[in-house]
Subunit: 257 residues, 2 copies
DNA sequence: CCAAAAGTGTTAATATTACACCCATGC
DNA sequence: GCATGGGTGTAATATTAACACTTTTGG
């Protein structure tokens, strides 16, 4: 799907037939979500936030630019996880349906129709996943999006092309590296309780983690610092707050620069 | 680097600015090797076997085609592992030097000069690694290659662009999945002894594996079947031969079809 | 004092590592 | 028989999972 700042001359400004699709994972209240924009046009077009790669930027920079345009936040954790390169990967059917259903062309549809020769090509797409704190990131929709909403990862809307499969592969990749790369903290606020972290793990892996063993395992990693207690007013023992300890010099929350 | 069967109209037959580079791992006598072709031209141009993606084939099929063109064998274990997408990824300096050093143009150089506008573009490249049995695969060089030789992974020739980095990333990816995906057997003949398998692991991970514990770990995986003994004539106990047990229906040696 | 939920310790089970011993083979 | 290298068993250790108990908090 096109970014908002596409120039008129797609052919020279962007790499042809190569795109980036981002699976933006968010977390809140024990559930894992994915950010899915819906295009403004008639016809229920849901698709992952994606875009193209400028001639003058690296693929990591492109993913960052594309994503920042959608979420309005900087310093996102972002990583490539897989390339999708089947021969049937094109927007032909979706775009033709879109143009047909929206024949009373406004500017965007006219733009698409005029650039159809470019957009309906077969595309190879690089999948990136991103991890963000849903309570901080308020997605700012662009003018091609009707909505930009969070959907539970187990209850996604019907999406174009193979975007559902991309989400599935992204989740599998996330599970493989979650605590190996110490990236879970990107999904939480700066300060969090051990229970919040545990519920996050349970949401990602879709299975329970025993409370005490989880605490021991996480603390043995030696990457958390214990802060003050969090008094909620509940009539029970107050949990500690923790914070991810920034290592000297490294920037775990932004591996791409 | 171009394949041998490139048509004249690169622009329509292939995806522009997108390439595939293959890290072909081979194993023999306790050492891990990588297949590196050297171009026929003056100037010592070493680079990974790579090529482009046809409009009508998936990226997996493209990698398979490219690799089969170089090694002459089918049914290779092959998997994508990472995309390389820096802005400085182009063949400009290498190709300009090549054309300069080989000014007395034969057909190939003329072809390159005529297609320079295409070849010197910035390229995004998908890295694949392949695992082959060096005793079976006899690389058949194409007419653009002076040599196609195996080089020890710790003693590679100086290679163009970022191909050395691609090899390094490929090796790291291989280590991450070697026994999780049960693919080590692709580097060995059909029948092998436990010692041969252990030496292979030691070559890949560059560290020793205790003999008896290694045997137990591998046998506990339950994927090997023990065959007859292998009598070498040495005055010691004869080791058993093993074979990777093909599962019902699955094809571990060829995950891409 | 009580219920609820957090913190922590203790044991059991399992996996990993280290060490030792025995066995087959050809000379 | 003997040296060599392969197969296998056992003990020590480390890691993980299971279970139990204590502490804090507000009503």
């Amino acid at each position: 799907m096109p970014d908002t700042d596409l120039p008129t001359d797609l052919n020279t400004e962007y790499i042809r037939q190569l795109s980036i699709d981002c699976v933006v994972f968010g977390y809140r209240d024990g559930k894992l979500y994915v950010l899915v924009p819906e295009l403004i046009f008639r016809g229920d077009f849901y698709g992952l936030p994606g875009g193209f790669i400028r001639q003058t930027e690296s693929i990591d920079a492109a993913a960052r630019r594309i994503l920042e345009g959608r979420t309005g936040i900087t310093n996102i954790y972002l990583e490539q996880f897989r390339v999708f390169g089947g021969t049937d990967r094109n927007n032909r059917s979706a775009l033709e349906r879109l143009v047909e259903l929206n024949a009373d062309a406004d500017g965007s549809v006219r733009w698409m129709r005029d650039n159809l020769h470019w957009l309906v090509d077969r595309f190879v797409s690089i999948g990136y996943y991103a991890l963000v704190d849903m309570r901080v990131v308020k997605p700012s929709k662009t003018d091609v999006d009707a909505t930009v909403d969070w959907y539970p990862v187990d209850n996604l809307p019907k999406m174009i092309m193979d975007h559902r499969e991309i989400v599935g592969e992204g989740l599998l990749s996330l599970r493989r590296v979650l605590d190996e790369k110490l990236i879970a903290f990107n999904l939480l606020p700066e300060k969090f309780t051990m229970k919040e972290l545990r519920l996050l793990y349970e949401a990602v892996y879709d299975r329970p983690f025993p409370r005490n063993n989880f605490q021991k395992k996480i603390l043995d990693l030696g990457v958390l610092e214990r802060l003050e207690k969090k008094y909620t007013g509940a009539s029970n023992r107050a949990p500690y707050l923790y914070r991810f300890r920034r290592e000297r010099g490294s920037e775990p929350s932004a591996p791409l620069s």
